[in-house]
């Protein structure tokens, strides 16, 4: 049972966490918010953006502020699964040689999978079990991962040559997909100032513990949402399907497959976390709207015409949002 003190404590932790992150990160509020939502919802976040925008710094700042174990995996085409999940190695002790498991970088609590689309599908799939089951299996042994566990994957949308786009099944396992945009002028000036003046970038001190995060997760999960809002979310998800009668014309024209039921679940969970981040005790329509695009945009597959015409999924989701009445 969540008490008022729990609620206050969790809200305080999140507020301190945001302050710590924004002491290092300039701008990218929605990306930070997406990362925190992923943390609160026990989900994973896919960050998409060109190199040099601070994605890695953001994740490192988050991990440092959380006081969690952090690991960074730079995905390359020759990266093997064993390189990320670990492997059994022969060790010699007192003249006896035995196999012992050497955990890979996946055994952390905040994992940054940088440029995940550069690895082969075999390596990418090694992430699946960790992302979904929170376990890692090597040989015949399954190893549980520490809680909380969060995978933040990045991918570069412009350098597609020699890359392996994530399969839909893997993409669907990301709770949110946040697009990291280029900073504005003021933000860029501030970034330059922080990196060139004084001691440079200083990562924040931990402001929360793993227990704080788990408590915050329980508080966010208990946020009530009206039954009709749940139906509204279901209608929104159904409207992304081109065959559905409530789908807008743009969806019927350019979409091959709409969002999966996992998308509806992700939307509700993300809306709850968003409401909690906003200090609310109930889910509002505004909370749903805030996470609508990030929760569904990576779950919609364009058809050939949509791909050929370069249709943006975000624009299609805007059409869906406008076409679906709340009551």
């Amino acid at each position: 049972m969540i008490t008022e003190a729990d609620f206050e404590r969790a809200a305080g932790v999140l507020e301190g966490l945001q302050q710590a992150i924004f002491s290092v990160i300039v701008g990218h509020e929605h990306v930070v918010r997406a990362a925190l939502i992923g943390l609160l919802c026990d989900g994973n976040v896919l960050l998409e953006g060109i190199p040099g925008l601070g994605k890695t710094l953001l994740v490192r700042s988050l991990a440092t502020a959380l006081g969690l174990k952090f690991s960074r995996i730079q995905f390359t085409p020759d990266l093997m699964p064993a390189d990320i999940v670990g492997t059994d190695i022969i060790t010699e002790t007192d003249g006896h040689r035995t196999f012992s498991f050497a955990p890979g970088p996946m055994f952390a609590q905040v994992v940054l999978a940088d440029e995940v689309n550069r690895a082969t599908p075999k390596t990418q799939s090694a992430l699946l079990e960790a992302m979904e089951e929170r376990t890692v299996t090597v040989g015949t042994t399954t190893y549980p991962l520490d809680e909380p566990f969060l995978v933040l994957a990045t991918q570069n949308p412009i350098e597609m040559e020699g890359t392996y786009p994530l399969p839909e099944a893997q993409v669907d396992r990301f709770l949110l997909k946040a697009v990291v945009r280029y900073p504005s002028l003021d933000e860029l000036v501030t970034i330059a100032e922080r990196n060139t003046e004084g001691d440079g970038i200083i990562l924040p001190q931990p402001v929360a513990t793993a227990e704080d995060i788990l408590l915050a997760r329980r508080v966010a999960r208990g946020i009530p949402i009206g039954a009709e809002l749940r139906r509204y979310i279901a209608r929104l998800v159904l409207a992304t399907h081109p065959a559905h009668p409530n789908a807008p014309a743009s969806v019927r024209d350019f979409v091959e497959y709409g969002a999966s039921p996992r998308g509806a679940v992700a939307l509700i969970k993300a809306a709850k976390a968003q409401a909690f981040l906003m200090g609310q005790a109930s889910v509002r329509r505004a909370d749903i709207e805030a996470v609508f695009t990030e929760a569904l945009q990576h779950r919609i597959i364009l058809n050939f015409r949509g791909e050929a015409e370069g249709i943006g999924v975000a624009g299609l989701l805007e059409d869906v949002w406008r076409a679906t009445d709340i009551a």
Partner: protein, 487 residues
């Protein structure tokens, strides 16, 4: 601050039920009122006319269906989460009421409830604003009410056929009023419709026969004698009996006078008694006065003078065709000897009871129907008696039930200007009999007097006029034409 969620739920639920009931009522009212209007319009277009009772029943059915729809709508359960979301949207409470209701249903940490209630504050729900009656329901209600109003109007409209008759009569009244002619004058005295003239022109070789037939004073009299005040409802056989009885009386009287010889100086007591008995069977007749004058004559000259006078009157009664008018045409000379042209006596205005007068003036469609049924479909004595009584005039007529005196009088036609106009407006009653040549009843001065024809009397006259069988079809077609298929 604690939000009274139960009170809000009750308010919202009541409002939602009312709105749902109103919507169902609007739909029911719209559908049934439209059906009622369609029925009334269909009947009206078909020339019929629903009675006030049926119309009222249909209208009451529409209103009843709306009432039933309202209560059925109120009985249905409401989707409270959806309603609360609508209230949230209307009140700007950011879906907190819906979340609070969810917490109430599923349970949850009190901290969420207290925080939501704190955010709601002292919320007052305006259910009327949050759950307004849909425009479609308002539109349907308005259309239903309009259909009801139209239905009421339709139920008050005269039937289409009656309206057409009114328009026809009004059109004829706008034409120069024909100068009324005495009934015994020959020639086409009655104004005839164009259709009738056309039919008469179409009959070709038979037109002369038709002309002779329809131009007889008897026919004119038969057409004109029957009004709302002077309806002779006896059928042809009854009329024959009456005429035969009168002829028998006249014959007896003639024989009695023949028995007295050409010259009489004094009447014997037996002759006087026999004459007085015959006179007693002729109430109100000039013949009876002449007989009484004869029996009461004191000196021989007076007896002879009274006897000659009585014989002259009797000869006139016995030979009506030759003595009716010097203007009679050849057809009049072909009448059967002994036939007595008759004219119904003018009704004494004060001899009719107010109720009779009202019926005679035709104050209502039912009266017109009754009149039509009396003249058309009631050949028996049950229908005969009131008509005879009315013709003879009240209590006095009952004293001579066995004998009807058909008094010869000057035709009672008046040159009456009937006010009216062509169109749908005007003060014409709806029960004017269709197809009747324009005539007003004897003594009538009002435009809305009943215009009708006693076809039984007409048939009797035609039979006594000895219209050749081969010509009767032509005559029948003529009258069917001028009545346009009516009665």
């Amino acid at each position: 601050m604690v939000v009274d969620l139960s009170g809000i739920l009750q308010t919202v639920d009541q409002r939602a039920r009312s709105v749902r009931g109103a919507r169902l009522a609007a739909q029911a009212l719209f559908a049934t009122s439209l059906a009622t209007l369609a029925v009334l319009t269909g009947v009206w277009l078909a020339g019929g006319h629903l009675s006030a009772g049926v119309s009222a029943t249909l209208l009451a059915g529409s209103l009843s269906s709306a009432t039933v729809g309202f209560f059925l709508g109120r009985r249905q359960r409401c989707d409270l989460p959806r309603l609360l979301l609508r209230v949230d949207l209307a009140a700007g409470t950011e879906e907190r009421l819906a979340a609070l209701y969810e917490l109430r249903l599923r349970g949850g940490a009190p901290t969420y409830r207290s925080r939501i209630e704190a955010a709601l504050g002292d919320l007052t729900v305006n259910a009327r604003q949050a759950l307004p009656l849909a425009r479609s329901s308002v539109l349907l209600l308005s259309l239903g009410a309009a259909a009801i109003a139209l239905s009421v109007g339709m139920s008050m409209l005269p039937s289409r056929s009656a309206r057409d008759d009114v328009v026809r009569v009004a059109a004829e009244t706008q034409a120069p009023a024909p100068t009324a002619q005495p009934a015994l004058e020959p020639g086409p005295k009655l104004p005839r419709s164009t259709d009738a003239d056309a039919v008469r022109a179409d009959v070709g070789p038979s037109s002369d026969v038709l002309e002779r037939t329809v131009s007889t004073p008897e026919l004119d009299g038969a057409l004109s004698m029957a009004s709302g005040q002077t309806v002779l409802s006896a059928d042809g056989e009854d009329l024959d009996e009456l005429l035969a009885a009168q002829a028998a009386l006249l014959s007896q009287l003639s024989e009695q006078l023949d028995g007295l010889g050409d010259t009489v100086e004094e009447l014997s007591a037996e002759d006087a008694a026999a004459l007085q008995e015959l006179a007693s069977q002729l109430p109100g007749s000039p013949l009876r006065d002449a007989v009484e004058e004869l029996t009461e004559a004191a000196d021989p000259d007076a007896v002879q003078e009274a006897l000659d006078n009585l014989r002259d009157m009797l000869s006139e009664e016995s030979a009506p065709a030759s003595s009716g008018s010097s203007e009679g045409d050849a057809d009049r000379e072909t009448q059967v000897p002994g036939e007595s042209p008759w004219e119904p006596p003018e009704p004494e205005p004060d001899s009719l009871s107010p109720g009779d007068a009202a019926r005679a003036s035709g104050q209502g469609p039912d009266d017109a129907d009754d009149q039509r049924s009396r003249t058309d479909s009631r050949p028996g004595s049950a229908g005969e008696s009131p008509g005879v009584e009315r013709m003879l005039g009240g209590e006095e007529s009952r004293e001579a039930e066995s004998v009807v005196h058909l008094e010869r009088r000057e035709p009672a036609f008046y040159d009456v200007a009937i006010e009216g106009q062509i169109g749908l407006e005007g003060e014409f009653e709806e029960f004017v009999t269709r197809g009747v040549p324009l005539e007003t009843a004897a003594g009538s001065t009002e435009a809305h007097q009943v215009l009708t024809v006693d076809y039984d009397a007409l048939r009797a006259v035609l039979e006594q006029r000895s219209v050749a069988p081969e010509d009767r079809e032509t005559v029948r077609r003529y009258f069917e034409a001028i009545t346009q298929g009516g009665t």
